[in-house]
């Protein structure tokens, strides 16, 4: 009779975490930060059509790193969740914290249950309105939610990028300056990322109900100049 190998739970979790982290580290990173009028989302992304950043709802943005098809599925599910919640109750009741929770629930279950753990990290950002503050929720591959106060970095090299970003100053400042800092943190001192390889979007009140908008390469170029 063959006996199954015994693997300790610690080892099992470690292996799964390692697997997920490796997958995530293969892609480029992204950074989300609060500036004086909203939230800025910056990703290094050479593709102009396979987006890492997208709109979820009037005041909620989404960003993901790792395996494209996996975070894309989470993105679609987020839009569906938000639109159907808003339809059933009201637009005001669609809240980033609840969305972050359902993401965490899903990622957490996928991590511990049998199948392949998801190789993604996602982020949900919310622009302040009345009683809801501006928030950035970072959800890791195993379902841990972190409520970031100023900025969040997702992806393989996040610790280095985080340190670089903090070293530039920790204050809330203008859109242009925040973008410059974010791009410098993503690229590091040795190289520079051209505007065409950046995917940039923001959540800001510009008079419309929907606050999410993408920044064109030209505009990004101007802000970086």
């Amino acid at each position: 009779m063959t006996m199954p190998f015994y693997v300790t739970p610690e080892q099992q979790m470690k292996d799964r975490a390692e697997y997920a982290q490796k997958g995530i580290a293969r892609g480029r990173s992204l950074i989300a930060c609060i500036y004086d009028y909203g939230v800025l989302l910056v990703a290094e992304n050479p593709s102009a059509s396979l987006n890492k950043i997208s709109e979820i709802y009037d005041r909620i943005g989404f960003a993901g790193v790792g395996k494209y098809n996996e975070f894309h599925e989470l993105r679609s599910a987020g839009v569906r969740w938000a639109d159907s919640t808003g339809f059933r109750y009201s637009r005001e009741d669609v809240d980033a914290r609840s969305l972050a929770n359902v993401y965490a629930q899903y990622l957490g279950t996928s991590f511990t249950d049998g199948g392949k753990p998801l190789e993604v990290e996602v982020l949900v950002a919310q622009l302040a309105i009345r009683n809801k503050p501006t928030k950035i929720y970072h959800i890791a591959f195993e379902g841990t939610i972190t409520d970031e106060t100023r900025f969040a970095v997702l992806g393989g090299d996040s610790e280095t990028i985080r340190t670089r970003f903090v070293s530039e100053g920790d204050d809330v400042t203008t859109l242009a300056l925040t973008l410059q800092r974010a791009v410098r943190a993503l690229s590091g001192p040795e190289r520079s990322i051209p505007a065409s390889d950046l995917e940039v979007a923001r959540l800001e009140d510009l008079g419309a109900r929907r606050t999410f908008n993408r920044l064109s390469d030209d505009f990004v170029g101007q802000l970086l100049a």
Partner: protein, 264 residues
């Protein structure tokens, strides 16, 4: 609610209507009661710059139920949607259409074309109307940014969609409004001319049809005038619509209520 995930074979795609079905959320449009009155009049005219829509403000049950209803809504930046029929169903219809277009845009990262929107609504009308007496009839007008011109779409109760190359009219005041438009409409009219003609058509409908409200000088409530051009959806501010209807009213007072010739 948990995260709505679907496998590839049951994925509802970018359609909000399909999503609601998958999630078993009913399209909460109520069926008609016994009296499906088209208590409204809305006109949409094509002009050089795009389209102009004018709608009265009255909702009617056995008596007047509301004098300040808004029957034209911004479905998205380049699309206006107007409704006739049961008010509750109409308002819900607008809400679902707006959400559907926005949902598509977010899911696909691309805006649905104007023709795509008009076809999508056909299916929605079928869902809402069939099986009950016809309750909602929309009118869709917008600026087609892919073809660079204004377009108007009318529907029948079974969801049939008809594109009009001049103007569209819906609601109980249709015979009166349409007569005014048929006599006054010319090819290649400007935005300003269309606003004037559209306002006149609604004035006529308000004058003759008991379910359509004309300008209400006592309460300062005037029909809504909307334009959709390459700059997007714009509602004319109240002081301007007031002037438009005051002008018509003065002409009509001078002619002792007779409409015709230069006195229109």
């Amino acid at each position: 609610m948990a995260l709505p995930l679907f496998d590839v074979t049951t994925d509802p795609g970018p359609s909000f209507q399909n999503l609601l079905k998958m999630l078993s959320i009913p399209l909460s449009v109520p069926g008609a009661t016994d009296d499906p009155i088209h208590a409204t009049t809305v006109v949409a005219l094509r002009c050089e710059e795009g389209v102009v829509l004018v709608a009265d403000r009255q909702a009617t049950a056995q008596a007047i139920a509301a004098r300040d209803m808004r029957k034209i809504a911004e479905a998205d930046r380049f699309t206006a949607i107007a409704i006739s029929g049961t008010a509750a169903a109409g308002m819900e219809f607008i809400r679902i259409s707006q959400l559907s277009f926005e949902h598509y845009e977010k899911m696909m990262d691309e805006t649905l074309s104007l023709e795509g929107k008009s076809n999508y609504l056909s299916a929605l009308i079928q869902d809402v109307n069939l099986g009950t007496p016809f309750t909602v009839l929309p009118l869709v007008a917008g600026f087609d940014i892919n073809h660079n011109r204004g377009r108007v779409f009318e529907y029948d109760g079974a969801g049939g969609c008809y594109e009009k190359d001049d103007f569209g009219v819906i609601g109980s005041g249709t015979p009166f409004a349409e007569s005014a438009l048929r006599l006054g409409y010319r090819e290649g009219m400007s935005l300003a001319e269309c606003i004037e003609l559209g306002a006149l058509a609604i004035y006529e409908a308000g004058d003759n049809d008991p379910f359509t409200g004309g300008p209400d000088f006592v309460r300062g409530i005037f029909p809504i005038v909307v334009t959709v051009t390459s700059d997007g959806f714009t509602e004319q501010p109240e002081p301007e619509t007031r002037v438009i209807f005051e002008t018509i009213n003065q002409r009509r007072t001078a002619s002792k209520g007779r409409a015709g010739g230069e006195l229109r």
